[in-house]
């Protein structure tokens, strides 16, 4: 364990150094903000979170899982609260309540006449309410606010390490299971006919989502993380017809909006989670207007040329 810790420490420091080498190329008005250690931690956390959210958002968007992403992000709250109380890692508690909620949604959907959207709304709000109640009993409202909306400028070294490890796991999983995941997202019945275990892929993807959400807790918070799980993927989907390219664009959008949002939040002294999401949304609007194939502007122009 000690070796792993030392290794990841070294890796994190290396990554920060590499990031700073890039940042220092920027004009002093920009790079000055990043000279403090807490800003550098915030920067690396944002980059990692932007990257894995961007990656996962491709699957969320293509699989029509936006509402499920929202549900899981809310459902992790009681788990986080209990883990905090017991001194466990956040991820363990978050995964337990996230998974329980998604299993509960499936059970209601299959065994009653309640439809999927109502089942999700029902389960995640109940779970979220339980979390709010637990936290209000145990911790201060500042704690609640930090979990709900993130507190990237206050990211501790331990939280950064958690995000780092979660990112490595998420990226490795998507790389190793690239084809099963792609086939499952595209055509689950074909995946099943080829003998892939779609149950494992399904719950594996939910696990990955939960991991990403927990890793994003400190950066954008659990309310806004769903924006980062939808916007980059939706934007990339407007820009390309290739899945690999979509992954690349989506990750870039995630990273860029996280970094730009963080910087703007420092400059204008506003909440960083909100700033990050708004930057991502502006990129979506740009793509919506100017995408070569799907963009409204070019469509209108082509339309007019035809008429």
């Amino acid at each position: 364990m000690l070796i792993i810790e030392a290794l990841s420490d070294a890796l994190v420091n290396g990554l920060i150094a590499a990031l700073m080498a890039v940042v220092n190329l920027l004009p002093a008005s920009v790079s000055d903000a990043f000279q403090y250690a807490f800003m550098q931690r915030a920067l690396l956390t944002s980059v990692l979170v932007g990257a894995i959210c961007g990656m996962l958002s491709c699957y969320v968007v293509l699989k029509r899982w936006s509402l499920l992403g929202d549900a899981i992000s809310h459902a992790v709250l009681p788990g986080v609260a209990v883990a905090y109380l017991l001194g466990w890692p956040f991820f363990v508690g978050a995964f337990i309540t996230g998974a329980l909620t998604s299993v509960g949604i499936g059970a209601i959907e299959r065994n009653t006449r309640i439809k999927a959207d109502a089942a999700m709304g029902l389960m995640f709000t109940a779970s979220f309410a339980l979390g709010v109640v637990i936290i209000s009993k145990l911790a201060s409202s500042t704690h609640l606010m930090h979990i709900l909306f993130g507190n990237v400028l206050g990211v501790k070294h331990s939280a950064l390490m958690l995000t780092f490890v979660a990112s490595i796991i998420a990226i490795l999983t998507v790389w190793l299971a690239y084809r099963p995941l792609l086939l499952y997202a595209f055509d689950p019945q074909q995946a099943q006919a080829l003998g892939f275990n779609t149950q494992i892929i399904h719950y594996g993807l939910i696990l990955l989502l939960t991991l990403t959400i927990v890793a994003s807790l400190e950066t954008v918070g659990i309310i806004l993380v769903v924006a980062m799980l939808i916007t980059p993927g939706a934007t990339a989907h407007l820009l390309t017809d290739r899945f690999k390219v979509m992954l690349l664009i989506s990750v870039s959008i995630g990273v860029c909006s996280a970094v730009i949002g963080l910087w703007l939040s420092v400059v204008f002294n506003v909440a960083s989670g909100g700033a990050i999401v708004l930057v991502a949304f502006s990129m979506f609007i740009l793509a919506l207007l100017f995408s070569p194939k799907q963009g409204l502007v070019f469509r209108q122009w082509r339309h007019r040329k035809r008429v």
């Binding site: 293509l62 949604i105 299959r110 006919a193 003998g195 779609t198 719950y203």
Partner: protein
């Protein structure tokens, strides 16, 4: 009635199968033997359980009761060995998905790629075993779609989409082909091409099983017919099974061609097998 099957090798053997959606039973007491190396048509009215039968065969739906064997072994083993190819209905696919025709057809090879060396599987497509690209190339040639390989699937016409789905099943080079309405809603040239491809597959010794509403096509091409409407209503030669009297009994019009008994995808799909 089933005497013509008795002395032949059996590709898929279904024994005492029951299947249900949310407690509503759609297939009851199904006993069926699909002859190996033959072309079988499954015919039945909308909601008769034809697609459900395919869901059970492809493993995306669990049977309540009963067993399904392929060549005498549990069918799951053949699925894992990549020996069961499946051609979905056009409505079951998300055509907005950002993949090219080539990548879609390559999907048929994903089962076989599990047997490749790990280092190949972790690298981009050009490092994969050459036989995968060859199979995709051949399949696209067979359905006359090779020149469309680089196009996104969303840009194709209806008949082309069907041909791409067929190519994906062909690329798998499986011994059993399951086709869910391969001829529904295609233009006449595509229909002729698909029928010709399937005839070639059968001649090459493959077992072809298709759900169809195309009675003239079935009368002309297939070797064996299964009539189904919740129960098995008859099995035998096309001339016997597809007579007007038999079909009237089954409540299918003999000229009905375009109906599909499967709904389009739900907006927020959730369950793992069907989502």
């Amino acid at each position: 009635m089933t005497t013509d099957v008795v002395n032949q090798a059996v590709a898929i053997d279904i024994h005492g199968l029951y299947a249900a959606y949310q407690r509503q039973v759609v297939l009851e007491n199904i006993h069926l033997a699909f002859p190996a190396g033959k072309w079988t048509a499954i015919v039945g009215p909308n909601g008769a359980g034809k697609s459900t039968l395919f869901h059970v065969l492809t493993g995306s739906m669990k049977a309540l009761e009963g067993s399904v064997n392929a060549f005498g072994e549990p069918i799951a083993r053949h699925r894992r060995a990549g020996q069961i190819a499946y051609m979905a209905q056009r409505e079951a696919i998300e055509w907005d998905f950002p993949v090219s025709v080539w990548d879609t057809v390559m999907g048929g090879r994903y089962g076989h790629m599990r047997k490749d060396a790990l280092w190949r599987r972790l690298l981009p497509a050009r490092w994969h075993h050459a036989r995968h690209a060859e199979a995709v190339h051949e399949a696209l040639m067979a359905v006359d779609m090779r020149e469309h390989a680089a196009r996104p699937i969303g840009a194709l016409s209806g008949g082309q989409k069907k041909r791409v789905l067929l190519a994906r099943a062909l690329a798998q080079q499986a011994s059993i082909l399951l086709l869910d309405e391969p001829l529904a809603g295609v233009d006449p040239p595509s229909e002729q091409l698909i029928l010709a491809v399937l005839r070639r597959e059968r001649e090459a010794g493959k077992t072809v099983i298709m759900v169809t509403h195309d009675m003239p096509g079935a009368r002309r091409y297939v070797d064996h017919v299964v009539l189904i409407n919740r129960f098995i209503r008859g099995t035998g030669a096309p001339d016997d099974m597809l007579s007007e009297a038999k079909l009237a009994e089954l409540a299918v019009s003999s000229i009905e061609q375009t109906a599909t008994d499967r709904q389009t995808r739900p907006a927020a799909s959730y369950s793992p097998a069907q989502g």
